[in-house]
């Protein structure tokens, strides 16, 4: 710490140059924060997946429905503790851009399957009693300002009604939250029975089944047993863990992780060139000063440490500012995007990773100038001065 003033003063030797370098670091880490948070949203379903929950879909694709008759057959497979179902409704609220998950479900069974969802008992009971009732997650309620008692019209893009209409109206009976802050609550759940009797086609089917594996049972064996049961039938199944299901769902949007990694890789490579150049120039300009420090008794390692610390300090100043602004912006973005991209969140893992990257980038950018300073010959440097 006693060298801090020296390091600080040297870092600000050329104010404009240092400011510009810090600005480039700032932009890089701002971008890192934003992309990490968005990337997190894309893989959010994977991270919060419950290892004991399995998803059963049609072997061909998620779009193909499965017969309702599979419910009892899946329930009878050894190792299955409970099973329920859901379907993709795919409507929007008021405008096409207001899209979010809407699932027709069995209210009690679905809530039991997802114990992380919290809903007051009286609201759940009201939902169960009202065939046109619905419950929404807190994120959606906040985004659209919905309150219990509101009537919510949803425009169907797939499911026309038997009467030809496309507007499905629901009575909001409850608002649920999630125990897991990373889990999305941008969902609207409504009664499957209402969906079944009102839709124009595909009656007697559901989109997918969700089951909980009994304690002690092997999820992989259970999944294989289910798929085996429906093998060679017109509707073969593909059973996977919730995490694998979420991953395959996200792949519809492309390999987000790879895209984010490539963008950040390019940004950080440029950042290393910029900050490495700054440190090289800075050391070149004060060769004689470094020689004086060594003359006064500063060891080779002390000089190495001083130059490296300067590089790390510049990275930390820009990086923490970028991360800080990123965090503030993400709060706003998460609110704005809650409906169609829920779970935008800057995780502590991402923050820790960013700080580690700042330290690593500081070392990488400063190591060669620092080694040059360390190996400096006092006599040669003073003679040149």
């Amino acid at each position: 710490m006693k060298y801090f003033r020296l390091i600080w003063k040297n870092a600000w030797r050329k104010k404009i140059r240092t400011s510009l370098t810090i600005l480039s670091v700032f932009v890089a880490f701002l971008l890192f924060a934003l992309l990490s948070a968005i990337g997190y949203a894309f893989r959010g379903g994977v991270d919060v997946a419950d290892a004991q929950r399995l998803i059963v879909i049609h072997k061909v694709s998620l779009i193909n429905p499965l017969p309702m008759s599979y419910l009892n057959r899946i329930a009878s497979v050894e190792g299955v503790q409970s099973v329920t179902y859901a379907s993709w409704f795919g409507g929007f609220y008021q405008e096409p851009r207001n899209q979010f998950g809407q699932f027709p479900v069995d209210p009690q069974a679905y809530v039991d399957m997802y114990p992380e969802f919290n809903i007051p008992d009286e609201q759940l009971e009201a939902f169960k009693r009202n065939r046109t009732g619905a419950i929404v997650g807190q994120e959606l309620a906040t985004t659209y300002g919905w309150q219990v008692g509101d009537r919510i019209p949803i425009q169907a893009t797939i499911w026309t009604k038997a009467d030809g209409g496309r507007t499905w109206e629901f009575d909001l009976e409850g608002i649920f939250s999630s125990d897991d802050p990373r889990g999305s609550t941008a969902l609207l759940l409504f009664q499957h029975d209402y969906f079944e009797e009102t839709r124009a086609f595909a009656k007697g089917t559901v989109g997918w089944y969700i089951l909980r594996v009994a304690s002690g049972a092997d999820p992989i064996q259970v999944a294989n047993a289910i798929d085996l049961q429906f093998a060679n039938s017109p509707n073969e199944t593909k059973t996977s863990t919730e995490a694998a299901f979420a991953q395959s769902f996200m792949k519809q949007y492309g390999n987000i992780a790879l895209i984010v990694t490539m963008i950040l890789g390019a940004v950080f490579f440029t950042l290393l060139l910029v900050s490495g150049n700054t440190m090289s120039q800075s050391v070149r300009e004060r060769i004689s000063e470094l020689a004086v420090l060594k003359t006064l008794g500063f060891s080779d390692l002390s000089v190495l440490g001083i130059v490296l610390s300067e590089s790390i300090l510049i990275m930390l100043m820009g990086g923490l500012l970028g991360l800080g602004l990123g965090w503030v912006l993400i709060q706003g973005i998460a609110q704005q995007m809650a409906a169609f991209l829920p779970g935008v969140f800057l995780s502590t893992t991402a923050i820790a990773g960013a700080v580690a990257m700042m330290l690593a980038a500081g070392v990488l950018a400063g190591i060669f100038p620092a080694l040059k300073a360390m190996r400096l010959s006092i006599i040669d440097a003073l003679a040149r001065a």
């Binding site: 006693k2 060298y3 003033r5 020296l6 003063k9 040297n10 600000w12 030797r13 004689s288 000063e289 004086v292 420090l293 060594k294 003359t295 006064l296 008794g297 500063f298 060891s299 080779d300 390692l301 002390s302 006092i378 006599i379 003073l382 001065a385």
Partner: protein
């Protein structure tokens, strides 16, 4: 007989410049008594600065031994020499070599960063050193805000702040006008006479050499004693 602070025994220093072998010092034997003030004069390239570098542990002899305050410098590693320099020797350069980003006070404090003194103790000692050189009122000034003479006084304060027994001055007045140079030389005399510092000063200036107790002439790698006028 006075106590010997520094001794060079059969010291030679040879540099290799390309294919050419240049012997700057040749089997030099010198004894520097404690409390002495020696001026070293001689033409350029005669080995004056090399001698100073050897005494300060900045360079090692090709042959022979350099002993200062009982420590044999020629056998020390680089890190040992760094630690030794921080407490045993103070350097004063022709162009002051202050760090422009630090105030006078912080420049003087620099050698104390290598000690275990508290920040308060470092500040106290730096203030005393600045007071000795008569610049207590310039403590918060940056080098660019000081005259050449004042900068050299700050450099002297930096050299004495860790209370070394030996001060090595390389052309300390070479960049100053006569009046200012004489002030600096009188300050060095005070440090020698009143504070007991042993001073070895390289100079081209015969007037400057007169401030020393004795003058040695360096030529072709050898030293020749000559009493100060």
């Amino acid at each position: 007989m006075s106590e010997i602070l520094a001794r060079l025994d059969g010291v030679s220093r040879v540099y290799q410049k390309g294919k050419e072998r240049v012997e700057v010092l040749h089997e030099l034997n010198v004894e520097i008594p404690k409390g002495d003030f020696i001026a070293i004069m001689g033409p350029s390239g005669s080995g004056k600065t090399t001698l100073l570098n050897l005494l300060g542990g900045l360079d090692k002899p090709t042959a022979g031994t350099v002993t200062v305050g009982g420590a044999e410098l020629s056998s020390m590693s680089n890190s040992q020499l760094s630690a030794w320099r921080s407490t045993h020797v103070g350097f004063i350069f022709q162009f002051y070599n202050l760090l422009p980003v630090l105030t006078a006070h912080r420049n003087v404090e620099l050698p104390l960063l290598l000690t275990s003194f508290s920040a308060k103790e470092r500040a106290r000692r730096a203030a005393i050193a600045l007071d000795i050189v008569g610049l207590a009122d310039r403590a918060k000034h940056y080098p660019r805000e000081l005259s050449g003479g004042q900068e050299q006084r700050v450099a002297i304060a930096r050299a004495i702040v860790s209370d070394p027994s030996l001060l090595l001055c390389d052309e300390p007045t070479g960049d100053l006008d006569r009046v200012t140079a004489d002030e600096i030389l009188r300050l060095l005399q005070v440090l020698n006479r009143e504070h007991g510092k042993t001073i070895v000063m390289v100079t081209h200036d015969a007037v400057a050499a007169e401030f020393a107790n004795r003058t040695l002439h360096c030529d072709k790698g050898t030293l020749e004693a000559k009493e100060a006028a």
